[in-house]
């Protein structure tokens, strides 16, 4: 069957969009890093990067922070995952909560609250100083970044590892026990290696996220890391400074390296054998001592994970809060301030993120259909192009946009593209597209082709089949994709900081960042943060409900 010309046109339009707003900006960044300015290839900028001691230090710091975060996140996540999957105990719901809570609050929002709780003169250290005369440098310099990022990102390891552990057939463990292994040796030699694909997927994701993060170090005033340096070079020295581009290339290389590495790792070994019977290991009972340890560990983690949430809430309703364990006077004034001063920003967030999410699900649905349901040559290329966006740090795409679209005018007298709010929509949409696409693909995979054939058999043409059968059946997945795109865009900060050229066009996330720049702004910043968290939490809840509602009864036919 020949592919419908309309589909070819749509595929070409999508490809053009991806090339214009993903490929060209990234290529422009890479090109600038390697270009001598006259069209020739040079490594001089990399050499220059290496000459600057601050850059070498930043590079080492970024690696150190990302590595430490993965390490500490592993220490938190591994016992929690093992506990929930392998033991009978009532805390499973608590651990699940632990897994979601940090994700609903952008790391940089939590950072400000953590400063007040764990900083040099924060609540915890004030208590410690009173009681024991010591303080812990939890939030000093890089420690602070590691601390904040660990609490924010360990759920990625927890969720991936739990899923992998739950997938291991019980006989894999029993065989080892039968041959004489138990306890720690059983875990180290059999259980953990079998769950390795899940662990590696989670750990590499955490590494990338932390390595690329701009918001958290900036809020904590840590600038001797790669992402903040790139931002500072581009904003202070200017778009022509090649060092910023060198940093971008390093960020991209590490992202691709970590993603590719984890893919290769899983691919290299045949793990398909692991889950074959589908029998989950029976959950073991905890001895009283183990139970005490387990609940203690979970309670401690819950308290830590909740601390930024509580902190930001307290901060948003406190008149002044400094050098005291808890704020002394409470007020709702910050919320009033936010609603008068920042109404525009809240509206902007809804506008940009809503349009970006809409664009994402439209593109996602179209790409999913083209990839899964047509024989269009090269259709996989669309999927691969979108996947590139997954490895693109927001900072890099932001810088790429500024460089590529500098001087590009919008049609109908809309002014410069880089000074317009349209650029937010484009940047948000491109980076969230992979999530929306996964969601749409999953939804379409569940729709049995026979349902479409039935419609065609009854006389519906291709477009009517898509409109009346395919899209309604995919709706759960499309909505879930929309919500995911929306909330992750609302919490985005790296692109946002770079692309904001006027305060009036800034979204909420930039507003929070801006407020946190001054001591006086901390209250309103926290209030805006609470609103953002509520928004993200609500969105997360809705998306979970949508995914849950998308049950097999919609799928029809076999899998």
């Amino acid at each position: 069957m020949r592919t419908h010309p309309g589909i070819v046109a749509i595929a070409l339009a999508i490809a053009a969009f991806l090339v214009a707003f993903l490929v060209i900006p990234v290529v422009a960044v890479v090109y600038t890093a390697f270009s001598d300015g006259h069209g020739g290839f040079t490594l001089a900028h990399f050499a220059a990067f290496h000459e600057i001691s601050l850059m070498r230090e930043s590079f080492a710091n970024s690696l150190y922070v990302a590595g430490m975060t993965v390490g500490l996140g592993t220490l938190i996540a591994v016992p929690l995952a093992y506990l929930t999957v392998r033991f009978q105990f009532r805390g499973a719901i608590l651990v699940q909560t632990l897994g979601v809570l940090p994700l609903v609050m952008p790391a940089f929002v939590g950072a400000a609250a953590m400063q007040l709780l764990f900083g040099r003169s924060g609540s915890v250290n004030l208590i410690l100083k009173d009681a024991f005369g010591v303080t812990l440098p939890l939030m000093e310099g890089l420690n602070g970044v590691i601390f904040v990022e660990t609490l924010h990102y360990f759920p990625f390891i927890l969720l991936n590892l739990s899923a992998a552990l739950a997938n291991i057939d019980s006989s894999m463990e029993e065989a080892a026990q039968n041959l004489g292994a138990s306890g720690w040796r059983l875990f180290r030699k059999v259980v953990f290696p079998l769950a390795m694909p899940g662990y590696v997927a989670g750990a590499s994701l955490v590494f990338i996220k932390v390595f690329d993060d701009l918001g958290t170090p900036l809020v904590l005033n840590v600038t001797n890391m790669l992402a903040p340096q790139a931002y500072l070079r581009v904003t202070s020295i200017g778009l022509e400074d090649p060092i910023g581009y060198v940093i971008c290339v390093i960020l991209v290389a590490f992202s691709i390296g970590a993603m590719g590495g984890s893919w290769w790792f899983v691919k290299r070994r045949d793990y398909a054998l692991v889950s074959r019977g589908g029998v989950q290991a029976p959950r073991r009972r905890l001895t009283p001592w183990q139970a005490l340890l387990a609940y203690g560990w979970i309670a401690g983690m819950l308290l830590l994970v909740l601390s930024p949430h509580l902190g930001i809430l307290l901060l948003s309703i406190s008149k002044v809060w400094s050098f005291t364990v808890l704020p002394e006077q409470l007020t709702l004034a910050h919320y009033a301030t936010v609603f008068t001063e920042s109404k525009q920003m809240i509206w902007n967030t809804f506008l940009y993120c809503g349009l970006a999410a809409l664009l994402d699900v439209a593109l996602g649905t179209a790409i999913a259909y083209i990839v899964l349901r047509t024989k269009l040559p090269g259709r996989q290329l669309l999927d691969h192009l979108v996947t590139i966006a997954l490895a693109m740090p927001g900072l890099v795409l932001g810088i790429g946009y500024l460089r590529t679209f500098k001087g590009v005018e919008l049609p109908f007298g809309g002014g410069a593209l880089t000074a317009s709010w349209v650029i937010f929509v484009l940047a948000y949409a491109v980076r969230r597209l992979p999530y929306a696409l996964r969601s749409c693909m999953a939804a379409l995979t569940q729709v049995h082709p026979a349902l479409e054939e039935a419609a065609e058999n009854l006389g519906a043409g291709r477009w009517n089949t898509i409109r009346r059968v395919v899209i309604p059946l995919m709706m759960g997945g499309i909505l879930a994709g929309f919500v995911t795109s929306f909330i992750t865009a609302a919490a985005e900060i790296s692109e946002t900081i770079l692309l904001t050229s006027r305060e009036s066009m800034a979204p909420m996330s930039y507003g929070i960042y801006l407020y946190f720049q001054s001591v006086l702004g901390r209250g309103p910043g926290a209030a805006l943060g609470v609103i953002a968290v509520a928004l993200v939490a609500f969105g997360t809840y809705v998306s979970h409900r949508l995914v849950a509602a998308r049950s097999p009864h919609q799928s029809g036919g076999g899998q």
């Binding site: 057939d169 006989s171 894999m172 029993e174 065989a175 080892a176 026990q177 039968n178 041959l179 004489g180 292994a181 138990s182 040796r185 030699k189 059999v190 290696p193 079998l194 390795m196 070994r269 045949d270 793990y271 398909a272 054998l273 692991v274 074959r276 019977g277």
Partner: protein
């Protein structure tokens, strides 16, 4: 190593409110190849896992080599188990898989290497040590699983449906290899299966299980020839089974059943007291012109015939019931046409009376 016996004494096990094993007692002799045969849900796998230590019984005791292992964790039992799905670890090579149990026993490296090579050689996989399980066929994977278990020289070998994941042709071959291996090593082996052919062809003795109870223990022939109850008669081989009661009229003995009506039993047949079913195997039925007094005689009409090569399987309507008769086929002989009225004879020696 001298083979050891396994004694199960009055073992009971429940999962929550469900009683899975009810007062199980059975003795497996040293060096015996013993089968646990039963349909799914009969408790046979539960009993096997109990011997391995993966299930804990609530009453009774389990003795291995005369030692009570109740409360001994799986990793201290020295009971080798081959899992239904083989449970080979994909992150280890074949060699590493086989070496695992030896390493857990802290054997010196040289000895581990030696024993791994010997075990792989035993199952005919010498030279496959460096491969990963995913690169092997199903049959090879199973042999690795057996080598991994035998490498630790366990006291008892437990096989959980070892043939069920193999295709039909390979199953017969593997079955024969298993028997040879067991006879050669003389290791006490307990084999769980739902397939009567597997149990009958491989094992010295078989325990037939249903609903958590051992129905009968015996050699394959004992089970086939002298089933003690309806379940065993039906589960081992195929059978014609009719419920009814005995009536004595003068010197003649009759069997009255809803399905067959009232039929005269041949002279010399002595039924046991109480309610029993009349049972006979399809191959014991023959088509005759007229049955003699030494046989049970039935008259009916052919309803259906299936040609199975060596014999024809007829369904014959007798009264309100159907009798299955396996009649040997001779070259060129035409099947009896449906609707034909025929006489059947079953020799007195082939009649069994089994408890309902």
């Amino acid at each position: 190593m001298n083979p050891v016996g396994v004694d199960i004494r009055h073992v009971a096990l429940s999962f929550g409110a469900t009683q899975v094993l009810k007062d199980i007692s059975v003795s497996v002799e040293p060096g015996e190849f013993f089968a646990l045969l039963g349909p799914s849900g009969s408790g046979k796998s539960t009993l096997l896992r109990l011997i391995a230590g993966f299930n804990q019984h609530q009453a009774g005791e389990v003795l291995i080599g005369g030692r009570d292992v109740t409360g001994t964790p799986p990793w201290k039992r020295d009971v080798g188990m081959v899992f239904q799905n083989y449970a080979l670890w994909p992150h280890m090579t074949v060699e590493q898989n086989v070496a695992f149990g030896l390493e857990e026993r802290r054997l010196p490296r040289a000895q581990v290497r030696e024993k791994v090579a010997a075990a792989l050689d035993l199952v005919g996989l010498a030279g496959y040590g460096a491969r990963r399980p995913g690169q092997l066929s199903g049959g090879q994977q199973q042999r690795v699983a057996i080598a991994r278990t035998l490498a630790i020289e366990p006291q008892v070998l437990l096989l959980d449906e070892p043939l069920s994941n193999l295709d039909a042709r390979l199953r017969v071959q593997t079955r024969q290899e298993l028997v040879k291996l067991q006879r050669r090593l003389g290791i006490t082996t307990i084999f769980v299966t739902h397939d009567q052919i597997e149990a009958l062809t491989t094992c010295h003795r078989v325990a037939v299980m249903d609903e958590g109870v051992i129905q009968q223990v015996g050699t394959p022939m004992e089970l086939f020839d002298f089933p003690v109850n309806r379940f065993v008669a039906q589960f081992v081989g195929s059978v014609n089974l009719f419920a009814g009661r005995f009536e004595r009229e003068g010197g003649a003995l009759r069997f009255a059943s809803e399905k067959l009506g009232r039929v005269a039993l041949p002279a010399g047949v002595e039924p046991p007291a109480g309610e029993h079913d009349l049972a006979f195997r399809p191959h014991a039925v023959s088509v005759v012109d007229a049955a003699g007094p030494e046989a049970l005689s039935l008259r009916g009409a052919v309803e259906n015939a299936e040609f199975l090569g060596e014999f024809l399987r007829y369904e014959i309507r007798v009264g309100a019931g159907l009798v299955i008769a396996d009649i040997p086929h001779a070259r060129g002989r035409a099947p009896i046409a449906p609707g034909t009225a025929i006489s059947l004879a079953i020799p007195a020696s082939e009649l069994r009376f089994v408890a309902a």
